[in-house]
């Protein structure tokens, strides 16, 4: 089932990339990043079945980073929303020179 898992993981990762590229809602883009992290986790788990449990340890670390990223990212989104009243990335161009 290694090949099937890797193919599924690649498809899910690509769906996440396509979501990041095509959506404008900042919250949905964050969710697409979570989907990409999930796809990577599936690769780790699939390989850990053959190469020992270290892959599952990495999945635990990836989950921790995802939780931290979600907390900080959503705080940034709330902060932006307070100033601009929108989460549409088309309207957020503070850093554009």
């Amino acid at each position: 089932m290694l090949a099937e898992s890797l193919a599924l993981s690649a498809v899910l990762f690509t769906i996440g990339v396509i979501g990041v590229l095509t959506r404008r809602n900042a919250i949905i883009i964050f969710m697409c990043v979570e989907l990409m992290l999930n796809a990577v986790n599936l690769t780790f788990v699939a390989f850990s079945r053959y190469y020992g449990p270290a892959g599952q340890v990495f999945v635990v670390f990836v989950m921790t980073v995802a939780a931290a990223e979600a907390a900080v990212g959503l705080a940034i989104i709330i902060s932006i929303f307070r100033h601009r009243q929108t989460v549409n990335l088309q309207n957020i161009n503070l850093l554009r020179g």
């Binding site: 099937e4 919250i27 989907l35 449990p53």
Partner: protein, 183 residues
């Protein structure tokens, strides 16, 4: 790596895989953030089922508790907090150019999968089948993850606590209302 699996196992593996992909596609095409979040939860549940089928029961439980439980609840909470329900706030897809790039990436992925599916894994990569399951019989599903976590990766584990502390402090500082802000 040529192992034989029961038909029951194979069928459910493909079933959950198809559910995961279908939910993910529905997730990126929904306009409402709440609907998108719920479809993403569906994807994560089917991934949890796949983790269990891949002999990673502990990771499957963590997937349901941490991802589908905690992280997605935080997302839904923010959607509720920002009150994004009305149509003017719901964002459409972007213009033509990013969609074109996205379609290109998809085509490249399909081509890669088609090219790779014909090849065989080199023999030096093959390892004794069921390596993880022997480990699991010895230490159990949680123990086989906990032993490397608290031996080889202890430093990384401790650094993770620093990361979480920084994230908590950052979220509090960013989310705090300044005194001058109205409302």
């Amino acid at each position: 790596m040529q192992e034989h699996y029961p038909l029951f196992y194979t069928f459910h593996f493909y079933l959950f895989g198809v559910i995961a992909i279908a939910s993910a596609i529905t997730f990126v095409t929904r306009k409402s953030p709440v609907a998108a979040a719920l479809w993403l939860v569906n994807t994560m549940f089917s991934l949890a089922a796949l983790y269990v089928m891949l002999d990673a029961q502990f990771i499957g439980v963590m997937q349901v508790l941490v991802y589908a439980g905690a992280i997605m609840v935080v997302f839904l909470f923010v959607v509720m907090l920002l009150n994004l329900g009305h149509p003017s706030e719901i964002a459409d897809a972007r213009g033509k150019w990013p969609v074109f790039v996205a379609a290109l990436i998809g085509i490249v992925l399909i081509a890669q999968l088609a090219a790779v599916s014909g090849t065989r894994i080199a023999p030096e990569f093959s390892v004794p089948a069921g390596f993880a399951s022997t480990e699991m019989q010895k230490y159990g599903a949680v123990g086989s993850v906990a032993r490397p976590l608290f031996n080889e990766y202890l430093l990384a584990f401790e650094l993770t606590s620093v990361l979480l502390l920084v994230a908590i402090a950052g979220a509090v500082v960013l989310g705090r209302r300044r005194d001058g802000d109205a409302g």
